[in-house]
């Protein structure tokens, strides 16, 4: 199983074994004696057709930490896309400059898949609209595995805007590759997990031993779960319903006192940025893990780059 020159477009393209291999290499790269020269002489193109600060910076820092370089654009308005150049042509053109890997973020779904077809160099999807953001899913999985030692047999609650959250959709699909997980989807009814994912969970019951339930009260589950994956209620999706957003935000808010009966090993994750859904006092508890989770994003991206660029196998 080799990842050299491979595209990373969707978590759905990866088998459990492939995910496990990537996660198992994170420590290898973190502790590699030659980490700072692993990708020396390699250059990543960062093609960001929509603004992003964290994902972009973590790829930049990851490349630098491995001794490589990165270059690119971070706003499509500054590129020929503003002159109505097609995505295909833009990717072809940058690919022709001889980059070793292309990292692409684009507001439209499927853009990364198309870019991978246009390019000779391997492509990493850094977010294609509301569709996929596989490096986020891998860092979520890594954070769960790092804190619990496994991905099978865990009880994981996802909380908040489950209708619009790309991260919870991909995380759910990834966890369906693991055995005997219990998934709890906690959201207001208006923001429930989409039907097609509920169908997939139902199908996984027989094959993978997955159990799942939909609920709307966070308090009832805090003591039962191994992972509480909080998400932001996305105001941009509900802009005409300000009052509803305020109500949801007050109901789906985690505070330190709610964690009194949580398992000692329970971890709170969040893809960040958070708004009001996790109170600041949670940061000081042993359960808060979202900042380490964000830092894991750097390690996971370093690992993927090292694998794709053939620096490790």
């Amino acid at each position: 199983m080799s990842f050299q020159s491979r595209d990373i477009i969707s978590i759905n393209d990866l088998s459990r074994e492939q995910i496990d291999l990537i996660l198992s290499k994170v420590r290898t790269v973190r502790e590699h004696p030659d980490r700072d020269v692993l990708c020396r002489g390699k250059v990543a193109a960062l093609l960001f057709f929509e603004p992003s600060t964290r994902t972009r910076m973590s790829f930049e820092v990851a490349m630098r930490n491995l001794g490589g370089e990165s270059s690119g654009f971070f706003d499509a308005k500054t590129t020929s896309a503003a002159k109505e150049e097609s995505l295909w042509d833009t990717v072809k053109m940058y690919d022709g400059y001889g980059f070793d890997v292309l990292v692409i973020r684009h507001p439209l779904k499927g853009a990364a898949r198309l870019a991978a077809e246009a390019a000779n160099a391997p492509v990493i999807n850094a977010g294609d609209g509301p569709n996929q953001h596989p490096t986020q899913t891998l860092l979520d999985l890594y954070s769960i595995q790092e804190t619990h030692g496994r991905l099978d047999g865990l009880t994981i609650a996802m909380v908040g805007d489950l209708a619009n959250g790309r991260t919870v959709h991909s995380l759910t699909e990834a966890l369906l590759k693991y055995r005997d997980c219990r998934l709890v989807f906690i959201s207001p009814r208006d923001l429930a997990m989409p039907r097609f994912l509920i169908d997939k969970c139902e199908k996984a019951a027989d094959t993978m031993g997955t159990r799942f339930e939909e609920a709307n009260r966070l308090e009832e589950y805090v003591s039962q779960v191994d992972v509480l994956y909080m998400t932001r209620i996305q105001t941009e999706r509900l802009e005409e319903k300000t009052a509803i957003v305020e109500k949801f935000r007050s109901v789906y808010r985690l505070e330190a006192e709610m964690l009194q009966h949580a398992k000692p090993t329970m971890k709170v994750l969040h893809p960040l940025p958070r708004v009001t859904e996790i109170a600041a006092d949670v940061d000081r508890t042993v359960h808060a893990y979202y900042f380490q989770q964000a830092r894991n994003g750097l390690y996971v991206r370093e690992t993927l780059l090292a694998l794709i660029l053939g620096a490790i196998t």
């Binding site: 995505l87 295909w88 684009h106 507001p107 439209l108 499927g110 898949r113 198309l114 294609d128």
Partner: protein, 158 residues
């Protein structure tokens, strides 16, 4: 029950699509662009609707002179009429008869229902994986949206 005698024009060269579920022949004809084909070439096209059938209660049938089907056209037939047969006629004789096969993938014959999909915003030919036949469910190769039923809309061939 009295059987109605049915006569339908024979063709010398061309294709016969048989065992189409009743009522779907017009859709297939539209998607294969048969009207434009007839107008341009002056060939004979026969569309029979609601014929008695032993295997399905009622069936439709299409005969087209001087037409060969591309794989994309056969795929259109297979998606809309999974039990159809396509016969090739040469010199008035059937020289080949095949039951259509549900393809694993179909090309640019369907429109992705997700308006945020790259195929809806740039000149990109669509590509779809057939997830299941009953109900017919497709997944967009690009945006990964799975859809079925009324969300499946076909591109009209002009």
């Amino acid at each position: 029950m009295k059987t109605r005698p049915i006569t339908i024009a024979k063709i010398e060269q061309g294709i016969v699509i048989d065992h189409i579920p009743a009522g779907r022949a017009f859709l297939i004809a539209k998607l294969l662009g048969l009207e434009a084909f007839a107008r341009k070439t002056g060939v004979i096209i026969v569309i029979g609707v609601n014929f008695d059938s032993a295997s399905i209660t009622k069936k439709d049938i299409i005969k087209v002179e001087n037409l060969g089907l591309t794989q994309d056209m056969v795929n259109v037939v297979a998606l809309i009429a999974p039990n159809a047969t396509v016969s090739r006629i040469e010199n008035g004789q059937v020289t080949q008869k095949d039951k259509v096969q549900t393809p694993e993938w179909v090309g640019d014959i369907v429109i992705c229902p997700d308006s945020f999909c790259i195929t809806r915003n740039e000149q990109v030919p669509g590509k779809f994986k057939v997830i299941s036949q009953d109900p017919l469910t497709l997944r967009c190769h690009y945006c990964e949206t799975e859809f079925f039923g009324r969300l499946i809309s076909y591109k009209e061939k002009r």
